[in-house]
Each structure stands twice: as structure tokens, then as C-alpha cells.
Symmetry: C2
């Protein structure tokens, strides 16, 4: 307790393919200072870490120096909590060919403990620490962005599995025949349908399959985004509404299977797609109730993340720091 | 430690739809004494518990009296670990209409702590305590009997979920279109294909779909069992072999999805179907490798239960006693 009084802050790093956003956060989830660098401006990981520490030093000084910092948490693609490494991350030019011991590198530069996990696990920890999952011991976080990520919490602990990579629910198979090609190289994954890109793909498919009137026909099909679909649906466009119904229904079926695994108290949704609100959540809940095994019916809540979207990833990453 | 020396035994009760088998077990998994009663010979649960305790008293006396007993574990259908109750168990005439506080009832009669969970969770705990999962922190137990049950262990703990009923992997959906009717009322569940009854059903389907020669045609189709299929396959019957290939392939696909959830160190199989050995396990492993997300490839072992089939359920139930 005394230590927390002396060291009231943690650093969070949301390491994305484009930007690396740093925040210094207090125990209530308030961001005290923030900075950022371009993730891909560096060819070597050493240069990336040096640039990060240089940027960080300024905001560390703003909050009273490194003595005020308890720990640092990193949310990163292909992050392995057990080893603190980033492993073969396809979108990082200094990280796609091997295993980068990023937690250790920051630890040596900063002199504070550093934990690292993937973005979706970080989001789950953030939700437990500052968000709608406070006090929950069993829940599943689904991040619906460019891809579909997941962070699974069981008995109050994030599930890392035998290798540190558990919780890839975006890659359970939803269509075993004629499934859509997924970025992972397989076919029919949840992510190929229920991500932002999946929603845009569904819209293009629906547009091709009929001549039905739709506001979406005014757009170049290849440039349609999930946001376009959501805006059209909001204007009453029937085809656009059906795109979200289809997406919600499949998510509900997937969650019904996930309930058979860990019977969570809640499913928590995060990411761009959740902006569609009831357009997505209504068919999702209805489909879950229709598909779930009777014993689990009515036992899970369906919630949208309580963290502010723009800072949620940094908050999630920072929350790892409190766990160390 | 001293207590264990003084109380060297636990009681296990394998509560099945037909028989209730009791065993007194030491810490190495050796069964010291055993007895049984007919589960359905009693209309009321009070009579069932009284008859159980009467039968138990004889074997308790054989091992030196109740003072030698540390605790009792019960493996039962629809068993809830959190509450120690059996809830709406369709196959128990004294348990199908409500919630039976069976653990508490035995606790009051015997004066030792009593824990209760479902059969598959008991099998998982048994495997951790006495079997091939000793020392493992992350594994998934799949019981392939009349139905398909599962016990999931994560971070060394059985997953019970928010309600005590987590781990119903027999009821994830493997065929979302034209799925087989499952006993749970839904369609396409893993259990409808990869249980002993599922294998018999597959054999009947394959026999109907062609005129191909098969030893199985000598049998009344309605009486074909998974054992018949396994015997025919052992004699080189091509159709029977394809039945097990189909079954193993689907189990492998299912395990690939389960790996995306908890990335287990091992999948452990138990129950009648495992007697088919390589007939089942070879296509299962091959299919897993073909279908699993790349990051999980080669990380999970595929094991058959190390517990003696006839006593495994009692051993599993007894192992709950050591956890209390």
C-alpha cells in the first residue's frame, strides 16, 4: 500500500502497426500524460526502444520522475506474456522475422518491471482494472476491429495457455464449407466475417447477390467500410441493416459455443464495430439465446466496453503494470 | 501432512444412471475397498442416500473407520461444484425435477467434507491426481462415451465458469447446416457425431449411402454399436475404417478450435471410443495439424487416459476429495 502511494503511476504502451502510444496512468485509470512515436520509423528494435525511452522521459519527468512509476505494461501484436517477447509479428518491420525480448529491453532502460501481452488480453485486463469488468472473475472480451481478437478471463486470471498465446477466438471456424478466406491462411474463421473488414465484405456480397436498392450502391464497392454500412443502416437502409443482422447472428452463434467452454458472466465487446450499437447487439443477443445450450441461457451479460475508445488500448496496456 | 497420515483415504462415488459405485482410495490411486448400489432403486433421494451410507459403512469399517477418511468426492451428471448440487438431471428419477443438495446430504450423514462435480470434470481431476496429467497445468479432457463430456483445466484449476457448469464441449456446433439432431434439442453438436452413439449413427449413414461391401451389413443396422464398427475395422473393413476416420477428423477439427481458446499442453481422451486406438487417434492428430491455427501447431499432445477404465470414474470422483 505504501509502495503504491510512493509509486502512484504505471506506464502503458499501445504498440500498433502504425503508432506507438504511451500513457502514464493512475490507479483510477486517469491518464496523466501521453506521448507517441511512429512504430515503423525504425528498422531496428534497438532504435525503436531508444526513441521510445527518449519520448517517455519527457512525460515521466512531467509526473515527477521514474520513482513515481510502479511498472510498465505493453499491449502488442503477437505478444507473449510468459516470455515478454513479440514473436513473428507480421506487421512490424523490426519484429516480423523473429522473437523480440521487448519487455526485457524496456526493463533494462527504465529500471521498472515491464509486462507484455497481446492487445486483446491487454484490453481484458484494462476492463477488469478500470472498466465494466471490475469485480468479474469470468468473462470473455472480444475486440471487433480490423480483425477479431479476444482476451479470456477465468477465475480472475487471463488465459494464456501452455505457450502464452491462448485466446485466439477470432480464428474458430464458423463456416466449415465454402468459408471465406481468412488472413491466417485458413477458411471460415470468425474474423473473416465479424471484423470491420468482414462487415465490408458481407456488404459487398449482399450488393452483388441482388439488385435491391441500397444507399451503399452510391459508393465504390471496394471502398465500403463498416462505418459506411452502419451509417446507411442508421438511415434505414434495409440491405445495410441485414449486413449487421448477419454479423450479429454469427457472433451470437460463436458466443454460444464459447459459453459451452467457459460459461462466462459476461461477453464484453470492444472496437470499431461496437459503434453500430443495437444494430449489432440486438441480433447478437437474440442469436445467442436461440443457439446456446439450455443450461447457459440467460446467464451471460452482453456489454460494450466502458473504456474511452481513443485511450482504451493505452489504459489496457497500463493495467498490466498493476498486475506485476 | 500429519492429517494425511492420520486420514489416508478418500471416498469416491461414481454416480451413474444405472449404478452408483463407491471406492475408498489412497493417495496413490489404489482402490482399497469398493461397493455399489443401484441408482434407480430409490424413488426419493433420502432413501438413496441412506442406502448409500449403509453400503459405504461396511467398506469404511474395512479400512479402519471414518476417522481414516479425509473427504468424499462425487462425480455425477449435472453436478454443480460450486453448490454441491445435482440440477435437473434427466436420467435420475430422484433428481430430474429439481436441485438436489447431494454433497450436503452425504456430508451430514458421514461427517466428512464432500465435493461434487460432473463426471467429465471428475475424470479431469482424476487424471491430474493419478493419471497422465500429473504435473500439467493446462489440458482438456474429452470423455467419449454414450455422450461427449469435457473437463477443462487452466492454470491448474478446473474451469467451472460463472455457474458451475462450464466445459460442455460435446455441445459446440460442428455442423451449422443439416446438422444431426442432438439429445440436447439442438442440431449439429459434436456429441451427435463423436460419441459412441454418434459412431454407430455414422456407420448406419455410410451403409445407407452405398452398396459397398461391409462386414457391418451382417448386423441389424439398428443394433450396430461403436464396438462393432471398431471390430470390423480391425478386420480390415474399409467402410468401418472410414467411419473412424470421419469421427477422428471431426474431433481433430473440434480440438483445433479448442486450442484457439485455451492452448492446452494436452488433449486427453477417455471412454469407450478410445478403445479404437489408432483407428481414431491417427486421423484425429492428422486433422488437428491440418486445421489448427499455425501458432498452435505441434504444441498439444494427444493422450489416452492412463486410468484403468473400469475404475477410472471412481478414481476421478475420489480425487475431488483431495482438493477439498
Amino acid at each position: 500500500m505504501e509502495e503504491e502511494l510512493i509509486k502512484p503511476y504505471v506506464i502503458g504502451l499501445d504498440l500498433g502497426g502504425t503508432n506507438s502510444v504511451f500513457g502514464i496512468v493512475d490507479s483510477r485509470g486517469e491518464i496523466k500524460a501521453t506521448t507517441a512515436i511512429k512504430t515503423q520509423a525504425y528498422d531496428k528494435v534497438d532504435d525503436y526502444v531508444n526513441a521510445s525511452v527518449e519520448a517517455l522521459q519527457i512525460i515521466i519527468d512531467q509526473v515527477g520522475g521514474i520513482d513515481k512509476i510502479k511498472a510498465m505494461g505493453i499491449g502488442a501484436p503477437n505478444g507473449n506474456f510468459y516470455s515478454g517477447t513479440i514473436e513473428f509479428a507480421p506487421n512490424l518491420k523490426w519484429g516480423h522475422t523473429g522473437v523480440v525480448p521487448l519487455a526485457k529491453m524496456f526493463e533494462e532502460k527504465l529500471g521498472v518491471p515491464v509486462g507484455l501481452t497481446n492487445d486483446a488480453n491487454a484490453a481484458a485486463i484494462g476492463e477488469m482494472t478500470y472498466g465494466v469488468a471490475r469485480g468479474m472473475k469470468n468473462f470473455i472480451m472480444l475486440t471487433l476491429g480490423t480483425g477479431v481478437g479476444s482476451g479470456i478471463v477465468i477465475n480472475g486470471q487471463v488465459v494464456y495457455g501452455c505457450d502464452g498465446f491462448a485466446g485466439e477466438l477470432g480464428h474458430v471456424i464458423m463456416r466449415r464449407e465454402n468459408g471465406r478466406q481468412c488472413g491466417c491462411g485458413r477458411k471460415g474463421c470468425l474474423e473473416a466475417y465479424c471484423s470491420a473488414t468482414g462487415v465490408a465484405r458481407t456488404a459487398r456480397e449482399f450488393l452483388q447477390q441482388s439488385d435491391e436498392h441500397s444507399l451503399l450502391r452510391e459508393l465504390d464497392p471496394d471502398s465500403i467500410t463498416s462505418l459506411d454500412v452502419s451509417i446507411a443502416a442508421g438511415k434505414g437502409d434495409e440491405l445495410a441493416k441485414r449486413v449487421y443482422e448477419f454479423t450479429g447472428e454469427m457472433l451470437g452463434e460463436a458466443c454460444a459455443d464459447f459459453a459451452a467452454f467457459s460459461s462466462p458472466e459476461a461477453f464484453i465487446f470492444f472496437g470499431g464495430l461496437t459503434k453500430a450499437g443495437d444494430l449489432l447487439m440486438k441480433p447478437l443477443k437474440k442469436s445467442f439465446d436461440e443457439h446456446v445450450l439450455k443450461v447457459f441461457k440467460g446467464k451471460s451479460k452482453f456489454l460494450i466496453s466502458g473504456l474511452d475508445g481513443s485511450s482504451a488500448a493505452v489504459l489496457g496496456a497500463s493495467a498490466i503494470g498493476w498486475e506485476l
